[in-house]
Symmetry: C2
């Protein structure tokens, strides 16, 4: 395991400043709420059935959020890269067992914040309230876009869409997982890649 990236706190501060600017002092107060941690490739941050206890801010690497359905098929709905928060919001909000897994795709460094701590900050610190609102809004918008864009599109058009919208996914994520994100089989994806 490599050592924790030194710029981590700057990345987080930067994230804040884009949405809800925060003073140096206020930020210092926030720091203790976050814990740096490391997850090796393929390890799980959360498994289906567990309660989601934390949010994760990606410092370096990536993880995916996916679900295994009754027929044993994997469905990936999100890849979190650097400077993004990711978690199973539904489980956090409802306190219900997660229907999703969070799994590191690349070696992963995160800043972790506990659910209770986070929601407390949402209530008490207006910047964090704003951050949360922003996270919800974005989560919603992304998910909307995904429904509309992918529904009723041919497999080839989905691939082109991905290339356009999220080129990072194609360059950093193994094909098998990309296929499960697009909702097509790995065979079809492989064939389509040759067609451009």
């Amino acid at each position: 395991m490599a050592k924790f990236p030194p710029g981590a706190w700057d990345q987080l501060r930067n994230y804040f400043s884009k949405i809800a600017p925060i003073s140096e002092g206020e930020f210092e107060d926030l720091k203790p709420s976050f814990t740096p941690s490391y997850f090796p490739r393929n390890s799980f941050l959360l498994r289906q059935g567990e309660l989601c206890q934390s949010m994760y801010f990606v410092v370096k690497g990536s993880f995916r959020i996916f679900h295994i359905n009754d027929s044993g098929q994997e469905l990936t709905r999100y890849f979190a890269f650097e400077n993004k928060f990711g978690t199973n919001l539904t489980s956090m909000i409802e306190g219900s067992p997660s229907v999703e897994n969070l799994q590191a795709v690349e070696p992963l460094f995160v800043l972790e914040i506990k659910k209770a701590t986070f929601f407390q900050l949402v209530e008490t610190i207006s910047q964090v309230n704003k951050i949360y609102r922003n996270i919800l809004q974005n989560a919603y918008i992304t998910s909307q876009r995904r429904i509309y864009d992918l529904q009723g599109m041919s497999a080839l058009d989905r691939l082109k869409w991905l290339l356009e919208q999220y080129p990072l996914i194609l360059s950093r994520i193994p094909s098998r997982l990309v296929a499960s994100y697009l909702g097509i089989s790995q065979y079809t994806l492989s064939r389509l890649k040759s067609e451009l």
Copy 2:
């Protein structure tokens, strides 16, 4: 056009009280922000390309939210029935042109609140802030569930799912629209209904 349902304000008050209880007096102050209006069957509250200017609280009837894609195919993502808020959140949040249409499916009575008014209340009245958070959370959760539940399901399983999750849709909404909600053709839907 029938006359506006008399219990409308009670319905709205009731909605509030389940999420963010509010006093009689505070509620009276809120009332002027909402305007009762009526939309006949099939009329549009909003069309693709326009800016979404309002949120709608359904008093009686129903409307749907749908998108027409490049191949001219309709995709319905939501049916709003009594005591639900509905709008194109994305367009409201981003101030971007709507990619969705809102259309009355049954004769429709709503309480309408303007976007600017609403966001102002979100900032100034903590109960409305809570309502908004709740709307965002629910919108997100619903949309999540839809992705997971429908992706990779056979057409028959989708139908069973609908029967289970949203029986109202099957009983009140024309088949053609139901099909566009499930992402299957009207022909397939018709055939499957006979298979139970």
